[in-house]
């Protein structure tokens, strides 16, 4: 059997004829210069304004690693991760339900998405927190019985509020991902003798991941920020703990800066992680994977050390 042999690098070498490099006067991009100057000037003005503002930078620095702040940070991470996990599981479940041939499960999934996507998450949080007003007792007849107030702790209310809301968005993302996979894939899997569930797990979902992951990353970044709403149900996360300190020490804006700093750290760290996960699931869809930043650095170093000989 013959393989395609590459004839490219065996082509005739270009004769090394001496040539005259073009000497032309480059176009002057005056517009670029002007806009750069304007932007830098505005930026400088902004920095100046902040430096002159009535801001106690010392307080910002002091409170950055305050125990209460770090505790709030941890609880923000905790509720975001847990709510996202709930959202992922529900999203997967409802996406599969919506795509199933059973009209009842399809309709139920549609109803869920319609409600939880169609009402503000803030309202949903408040409703979970106040569930005791309409159901004083939670009674899962043979299994479990307790007062709603005891069950519906701030954490549980926050988890249900954020998680169920997220599930509705994730369901649509997962559904789009599943539908993006070519039908030929399902047929090939069935032809091998795989059952429907196994086909979904081994063949369809791994390929759908490529479509699912980027918007899911955005969802998680949104979740980190939306979690600031759960102070409405008395869950003391980053925003609540910083603003508590802020109003006690009358350094309100300073502590909002502290909050912003930590939100930026969280979203930035997560974005880096997202890059690697996306890269992992690009296997097979790209001929060559994009270089990681570290690989790029190394590649640049080696070319620096060993310049290519023409």
């Amino acid at each position: 059997m013959t393989e395609v042999t590459d004839t490219f690098d065996k082509g005739p070498a270009v004769a090394g004829s001496p040539y005259e490099p073009i000497r032309a006067i480059p176009v002057r991009h005056y517009g670029r210069w002007i806009s750069a100057v304007v932007v830098v000037a505005l930026l400088a003005w902004l920095v100046y304004a902040f430096s002159q503002g009535n801001i106690l930078w010392g307080t910002v620095w002091d409170k950055l690693f305050d125990r209460t702040v770090l505790q709030g940070l941890w609880r923000t991470v905790l509720i975001s991760v847990c709510a996202m996990a709930v959202g992922l599981v529900l999203g997967l479940l409802f996406a599969v339900m919506r795509l199933s041939k059973n009209p009842v499960t399809g309709a139920v999934a549609w109803l869920y998405i319609w409600f939880f996507r169609g009402t503000p998450v803030y309202v949903q949080l408040l409703m979970w927190f106040n569930l005791a007003l309409i159901f004083p007792v939670i009674n899962l007849m043979p299994l479990y019985k307790n007062d709603t107030v005891a069950v519906m702790t701030p954490f549980v209310a926050a988890l249900l509020g954020l998680g169920l809301n997220e599930g509705a968005y994730m369901a649509e993302i997962v559904r789009a991902g599943i539908q993006s996979v070519d039908e030929g894939q399902t047929e090939a899997a069935h032809a091998l003798g795989m059952t429907g569930t196994r086909t979904m797990r081994r063949i369809v979902l791994p390929q759908a991941m490529r479509v699912i992951i980027p918007p899911t990353g955005n969802e998680f970044i949104n979740m980190l920020k939306t979690s600031s709403l759960v102070s409405a149900v008395q869950y003391t996360e980053l925003l609540r703990s910083t603003s508590n300190i802020g109003s006690d020490s009358t350094a309100i804006m300073e502590l909002y800066f502290v909050a912003c700093f930590w939100y930026l750290v969280l979203t930035s760290v997560f974005s880096v992680g997202q890059f690697y996960v996306e890269r992992r699931y690009a296997r097979g869809s790209l001929r060559t994977l994009p270089l990681t930043p570290w690989q790029k650095v190394r590649a640049n170093l080696t070319t620096l050390r060993r310049p290519k000989v023409a």
Binding site: M1, T2, V4, D182, G184, Q185, E187, A188, A189, H190, A191, L192, G193, M194, T195, G196, R198, R202, I203, P206, Q207, Y281, R283, G284, S285, L286, R287
Partner: protein, 255 residues
């Protein structure tokens, strides 16, 4: 007593909604036979092939593989639909090769070939890997085991797809125009693999436009048009001396 046919179709009908595609197909495929199916586009060749492993459900008639009805169990003269799991189990014995390869893009060539045995037959990974390597070697791709499908040419992908189907040790192989998505210079490699399979005695149903292959390798040939079998016989006879007008006019266009 005659040998049991590998595939037996009796008055098979298939409609998609109002579109009546198969209008009573009758044919028999003997074990170890290379059975070629030709016909104009839209005549229902792919549909018939897909009915054989129950990717499509027939509406009327009887279709059986190796003596068992496809998709149903017969008991006391009544037909019972098979469960998903049972349908899946029956498909293990029928390999299928698609026009557009349909390799799993997130797996390497080797993993594609291992997938069936490991996931469906519950074979140990080490065993499956060795067999997969041997199969890739058989289709001439031992050195491409670690490549993802996008890193393979069309002809190489199709050979991996054949190896993937063979890994399930099927008793019947279905080929749906396996070479028509390939550049002409890559067709030969795939046909060589199929010729090898035929020599090893695999029962094969091949939908094809490669009349040369049908003539050389085929044991039987059927010309299908508009959902019915128009003419059948030995490939050399049908291709050289077609009896029906429709066969003549089709062959005059493709030969």
């Amino acid at each position: 007593m005659s040998v049991q046919p590998m595939v037996k179709a009796e008055a098979v009908h298939k409609s998609f909604g109002a579109a009546h595609i198969l209008k009573g197909v009758d044919l028999e495929v003997a074990p170890r036979e290379v059975f070629c199916l030709i016909g104009p586009s839209g005549s229902g060749k792919s549909t018939f092939l897909r009915c054989i492993n129950h990717l499509e459900q027939i509406n009327a008639g009887r279709l059986s593989v190796d003596g068992h009805l496809v998709g149903y169990r017969e008991h006391d003269g009544k037909l019972y639909e098979l469960k998903d799991r049972e349908v899946a189990a029956k498909r293990r014995d029928i390999g299928m090769v698609f026009q557009r390869f349909n390799l799993f893009p997130h797996m390497t060539a080797l993993e594609n070939v291992m997938e069936g045995p490991v996931q469906v037959k519950r074979e140990a990974k080490a065993v499956a890997r060795e067999r997969a390597k041997a199969l890739l070697d058989r289709v001439g791709l031992a050195d491409k085991a670690g490549n993802y499908p996008t890193q393979l040419s069309g002809g190489q992908q199709q050979r991996v797809a054949i190896a993937r189907a063979l890994a399930m040790e099927p008793k019947l192989m279905l080929f749906d125009e396996p070479t028509s998505a390939l550049d002409p210079e890559l067709v030969g490699d795939v046909l060589d693999v199929m010729r090898g399979l035929a020599e090893d005695g695999m029962t094969m149903i091949v939908v094809t436009h490669e009349m040369g292959f049908a003539r050389e390798v085929g044991d039987a040939l059927v010309f299908m048009d508009d959902g019915v079998v128009v003419e059948s016989g030995h490939p050399r006879d049908v291709l050289s001396r077609p009896q029906h007008e429709r066969t003549k006019s089709f062959l005059s266009k493709v030969l």
